[in-house]
């Protein structure tokens, strides 16, 4: 195959600049001395220091992590089980369920968020636990995470060689033992990939959180949004830079891990 020519390379370079311009500008402006607005007034690192004493940012970080961890845990368990059931057992309505699985992936966030808000306020008067706050946010996040986890895990399961399980059964392993010692280790990379995706989706989510949060359950995206809306952004740039840095590190190390790990069970 031919290597890319100069023309194609130039277009690609332009597109990379376009993709990275917003990310670079946030990082640069996190070192801007100006308190208000978007005018450059010299270099400073004071906003990073200010972040450490910003109690709103600290509590939002805590809420974001708690929300992401709990919802990812529930969604990974439910989604992986669902993927296993959908690939392994035929039952009436399975084909339809298979398609419905894609609905949460494509439903606009704002529709999901407002429908949850309506639902919570309708049933909230009967069930006090559904008062808007961390619980309602977790319930909402799990709802959009399940599908993503199930789709990723199902792709992994579909690529597995059934002969491995058949061999285990032929050698006398029971159904449960086969699952625990053969199927589960084989599907684990898919489960981890699904969990990573779910975790990131939760960290990134703004709309579902925004509509289903209550007093005291503000997350980082909500904090960033309200700061941007009010035009108070200096230490928000520093906060955003840290979030970007974590995303970059996570992406690069995951890619590196995948490349350097020899897969003992190559996909068919």
């Amino acid at each position: 195959m031919r290597r890319p020519g100069w023309f194609l390379s130039a277009i690609a370079a332009g597109l990379y600049i376009f993709l990275y311009a917003p990310i670079v500008v946030i990082i640069v402006f996190s070192f801007n001395a100006a308190r208000f607005g978007t005018v450059w007034e010299g270099f400073t690192t004071k906003w990073y220091g200010a972040l450490l004493h910003d109690s709103a940012a600290l509590s939002a970080t805590k809420n974001t992590l708690l929300l992401a961890l709990v919802s990812t845990g529930i969604a990974t368990l439910l989604g992986s089980l669902l993927a296993f059931g959908l690939t392994r057992f035929d039952f009436p309505g399975r084909k339809i369920f298979d398609r419905v699985l894609y609905v949460p992936v494509f439903v606009p966030d704002i529709v999901l968020a407002t429908s949850l808000l309506l639902f919570y306020s309708l049933v909230g008067s009967f069930i006090p636990a559904l008062e808007l706050g961390m619980t309602t946010m977790i319930l909402g996040h799990v709802t959009f995470q399940i599908s993503f986890v199930a789709i990723v895990v199902r792709a992994r399961l579909a690529g597995l060689d059934p002969a491995l399980e058949e061999a285990a059964r032929d050698l006398g392993a029971g159904e449960w033992k086969t699952f625990l010692h053969v199927t589960l280790p084989l599907m684990l990379p898919g489960v981890l990939a699904g969990a990573m995706l779910a975790f990131t989706l939760s960290l990134d989510d703004f709309i579902v959180s925004f509509f289903t949060s209550g007093p005291g359950s503000t997350t980082l995206p909500i904090l960033i949004y309200s700061s941007v809306k009010r035009g108070l952004t200096p230490d928000i740039n520093a906060l955003a830079t840290l979030i970007i840095l974590i995303s970059v590190l996570a992406t690069v190390s995951l890619t590196w891990l995948q490349k350097n790990k020899q897969d003992p069970h190559p996909k068919k």
Binding site: L8, T38, L81, D90, V103, V107, I110, L122, D204, P221
Partner: protein, 303 residues
């Protein structure tokens, strides 16, 4: 097909054994989605036919008023506001998908043609923005488009916008933010198709006298249709239902479905009308998805 063989493993059980295992594995997730997805969406559909209560709640009787208002037939005669919002959402979603496609095609070919050594890095560079918070990337364009930034000045010298003023809020700013945010969604599936492409077909077509356009049209394009379709749906549907991008980079003149839904639930507190808009947005997505799944299954049948 491996999926059939996976199913075969479960097929050795009795029907009761299969169903009970399906219930244990798929049941909890099905129950969850039934309660927290199906019920709320059903609630939104039901409320869209109710009347707004005096204090912001909802009341009987059942009416089609919200849908009539959305179609432009409000209490005060014809008002084009909401039909325009609907049309604008579809147009901006379509424009975003087309622009992303135009940008993703050369980028996908570029990455696929790189040597193995650089391919991974070039692809990771596309994935990083994809994993980076959308809110942050969108808000960054406010800085880039603010008055006297070189990008804004350059645009002014080309006759875009008014000198000394920011480039946002505006349609151009919204579209820029959308394309920048959704480009990775188009590049990734497209790259997956381009990567698997059989280039000998292009060589054969060229040998047989086809010019460059016909090589692309008849030898290459059919091979990347699935990736193209997946990318298109992955960009068009979320772009049409966007809220954050038009909220931060646009104004009342660029309001999309997501923005008017939010208005109805936040400031106006008109739940029936907000629900009706949400129901229409949901319907759009479901129809789009159904068309795509039907097309997709046809493609799988092809060799």
């Amino acid at each position: 097909m491996p999926e059939k063989r996976q199913m075969h493993l479960g097929q050795q059980l009795t029907r009761a054994g299969r169903w009970s295992r399906a219930g244990i594995t798929s049941g909890p997730a099905a129950l969850w989605l039934g309660i927290f997805l199906a019920l709320p969406l059903a609630a939104i559909l039901a409320i869209s036919f109710l009347t707004r209560g005096e204090y912001g709640g909802v009341e009987l009787p059942f009416t089609f008023d919200s849908y009539k208002r959305l179609a432009g037939f409000g209490e005060l005669g014809f008002d084009s506001l909401y039909p325009v919002v609907l049309g604008r959402s579809l147009a901006l979603g379509m424009a975003t998908a087309v622009l992303c496609l135009a940008a993703a095609l050369p980028l996908a070919f570029f990455i696929a043609r790189l040597s193995e050594k650089y391919k991974g890095a070039a692809l990771t560079l596309v994935v990083i923005p994809f994993w980076t918070n959308l809110l942050i990337r969108t808000y960054a364009w406010q800085i880039l488009f603010s008055p006297n930034r070189w990008l804004t000045v350059a645009a002014h010298s080309l006759g875009i916008g008014t000198a000394g003023e920011a480039l946002y809020p505006g349609t151009l700013a919204v579209l820029t933010g959308m394309v920048c945010d959704f480009l990775p969604f188009m590049v990734l599936p497209l790259y997956a198709s381009v990567e698997k492409m059989d280039w000998t077909l292009a060589e054969a077509a060229a040998d047989l006298g086809a010019d460059r356009w016909r090589v692309f049209r008849h030898a290459l394009l059919p091979q990347i249709w699935p990736g193209l379709g997946a990318g298109f749906i992955l960009v068009f549907l979320p772009a049409t239902g966007q809220f954050v991008i038009p909220d931060l980079l646009g104004g009342a003149k660029t309001a999309m479905l997501g923005n008017v839904i939010q208005q109805q639930f936040a400031s106006s507190r008109d739940w029936p009308f907000g629900s009706a808009i949400a129901a229409v947005a949901l319907l759009l997505v479901l129809v789009g998805l159904a068309i795509f799944q039907r097309k997709g299954s046809k493609h799988e049948v092809l060799p």
